[in-house]
Subunit: 115 residues, 4 copies
Amino acid sequence: MSDTTDAQQACFEAGIKFGSLYHQFAGTPVSPESTRSLETAIEEAIENQPYCESVAVEILDDRVADAIDHDEGYAELTGSLMEVEMRIDYEGTAVRTRMAMEDGYPRMKLVAVED
Amino acid sequence: MSDTTDAQQACFEAGIKFGSLYHQFAGTPVSPESTRSLETAIEEAIENQPYCESVAVEILDDRVADAIDHDEGYAELTGSLMEVEMRIDYEGTAVRTRMAMEDGYPRMKLVAVED
Amino acid sequence: MSDTTDAQQACFEAGIKFGSLYHQFAGTPVSPESTRSLETAIEEAIENQPYCESVAVEILDDRVADAIDHDEGYAELTGSLMEVEMRIDYEGTAVRTRMAMEDGYPRMKLVAVED
Amino acid sequence: MSDTTDAQQACFEAGIKFGSLYHQFAGTPVSPESTRSLETAIEEAIENQPYCESVAVEILDDRVADAIDHDEGYAELTGSLMEVEMRIDYEGTAVRTRMAMEDGYPRMKLVAVED
């Protein structure tokens, strides 16, 4: 085991934000009428966390509409209904991350690290 | 055990909304800069649920500010930081509920039932 | 608006427990190897809440297995993967509730109220 | 921006698990009678996630007892009531992480990375 680098710490912090975002808000009742307010709340909530410079959430209205059970009128937020981009800054290291569908499954990806 | 009444069903539905609201959003990172967006998102999310006519959430900026750990810059949403009022309508029965501090503890209350 | 009865209060409390259970634990990573521990934890957690006499949770291993994406090896807990029964006692009024699939959708039901 | 290394990916995955664990289970009703089942469920749930080799959770009974409001009989799980250790393995890189109190605040720490 070696000492950790700032870049590794930055990636760890980026992961924390992604796991937080997903498991805090997954399950939230959502309909096409409430997507914009939920996007904004998720962005501003996670941006409160340390080292989190920016969060962009897009909840996909058409996928939400498709996911809605006819009788209920809402879906529960899950990874396949949204796309997320985040930028973390830790002690001068910038990290970009992204969640989007890949092979039919939502994936959280470490996109780039700027040492 | 007897059959249930519409008023009892309405109270059950009202309770579901309160438990949902609380356990979906408790733990959300919050600061005085993000209270308004979180209030709106909570209201619109829970209003998606069946029989839920209106939800009003007030997150108390001064209590959020007091709850913030100096180094972190945010608090986690919990019952003592917000006040909630809800109105449920189930088959013609209206129910009003409320959460607010009482004896230093957040309490979910069934305020009134209109048969 | 009239005063509320003990039976209505009991139904409100029963609803709170159901909404709490669902929105606290929905989204939890689950596989057939972890269903038993999750059932027990959900039961004991919700039984801590006031007026909650008993909670029985059955997470359906076969449905969990069917829900698992091949590459990931786990599913996220949702209403269609479990059955729940609860008994609430409020000031001498007993309430029984149940969640199970109905018309392809998980429904929380007020089963009986004993005044 | 440069390509990412396996060590950086491993740290990102480690962070995801920590954020997931925290925001999935924070807010769970807990008492000294339910700590053991909750520990086990958290461990087995998060171990379902990819690259997660082991999770050890200790919920501190004495802190839970201190956090309980007298009338309610339970507390809500939060970072100050538990200690967590995790080991992630990503493509041959091992990462150890830890959450414990530091200066009165729960901190998620990247402890070591073995390239």
